[in-house]
């Protein structure tokens, strides 16, 4: 069984007491009868910071090997919550001061464009000539990773997007026009990909490479769609 030195225990206990004192200070200085959202975010951040060394000690105690992964994730989440708390407080005191020029849809398009470009570039560079079984496994892994990046990324965008009330807004006429123009651009790419297929089959290429090429064209189509959205949001549709 792993045992810890007395200074480590004392340091952790001191850290927990400091976090408890910080939490009490937030509650006592809330300036009203109830907790505001900024106080909830702040208390959540303090709680995570308090737990970070405990998680490290606990994983060390259970597995016998030190691992800082859990503590690092908790600390990063705590920092994100602190930033959100500060932004929420600033917005409450000065409405409109943290308003973003970019809409949620635009931020989402930037995220999707960056994610598919980065992940699928990595996949095609690494597995263009791989055996079918390996390539399919890597492709499934890439898609799962893409879904995780999308979920975490959109949660992050929603958390930091200000004012938060805009998240409930349905796409308006500008969003719809940009989506339609981008869809038109993507249609040309899909159409080109479709008519390229017979030519690809005629070429003396292995079937695996033809399939990779066909899939790459679909990825490029999606990149054109998302890229067009970002382009039209930035430059306008006039």
């Amino acid at each position: 069984m792993t045992t810890f030195a007395a200074p480590t225990i004392a340091l952790s206990a001191g850290w927990l007491l400091a976090c408890a004192a910080a939490a009490i200070a937030v509650i006592r200085n809330r300036g009203g009868a109830r907790l505001l959202p900024e106080h909830s975010y702040m208390l959540g951040a303090i709680g995570l910071l308090a737990l970070a060394p405990c998680t490290y000690l606990l994983t060390h105690f259970i597995s016998g090997t030190p691992s800082v992964f859990g503590s690092v994730v908790q600390t990063l989440t705590a920092v994100a919550l602190f930033i959100v708390a500060v932004r929420v407080r600033r917005e409450r005191l000065q409405p409109g001061s943290t308003a973003s020029v970019m809409s949620f849809q635009e931020k989402s398009a930037v995220l999707v464009l960056c994610a598919i470009t980065a992940l699928f570039s990595l996949y095609f560079i690494s597995h263009w000539n791989s055996a079918a079984g390996v390539a399919i496994g890597a492709l499934v892994g890439t898609i799962i990773l893409l879904v995780i990046v999308m979920i975490v990324g959109h949660a992050g965008i929603a958390l930091f997007h200000s004012p938060g009330s805009e998240l409930d807004n349905a796409p308006d006429e500008r969003d719809r026009e940009i989506a339609q123009r981008s869809m038109r651009n993507a249609y040309f790419a899909v159409s080109a990909a479709f008519w390229t297929m017979p030519v690809l089959i005629l070429l003396p290429l292995p079937a695996r490479e033809v399939l990779q090429l066909w899939f790459a064209l679909l990825v490029v189509t999606e990149a054109i769609y998302q890229g067009s959205i970002v382009y039209y949001y930035r430059t306008g549709t006039v």
Binding site: A99, E106, E166, N169, E173, R174, T235, T237, V238
Partner: protein
């Protein structure tokens, strides 16, 4: 990225300030569009639909051609 030049000029920003410094968010709420759409209209990056232009004219108690004019 170079901004595209609109063929239509507008006085939305000027009229907002003439009408009690109405905010972009308040104007957006009256017309039924996003705040970013008002920003894009003011910057000449987006031409609103006829319906939105009419709603805007109603919000400013004026006519559409007082807000939007063809650029030279």
């Amino acid at each position: 990225m170079a901004k595209k030049k609109s063929n239509v000029d507008n006085r939305v920003r000027e009229l907002r300030f003439r009408h009690g410094e109405i905010t972009q968010q308040d104007l957006a709420n009256k017309i039924g569009v996003a705040r970013q759409t008002i920003i894009a209209i003011e910057q000449g990056k987006f031409c609103p639909s006829l319906e939105s232009a009419l709603r805007m004219a109603k919000a400013f108690d004026t006519t559409v051609d007082d807000i939007f004019t063809l650029a030279d």
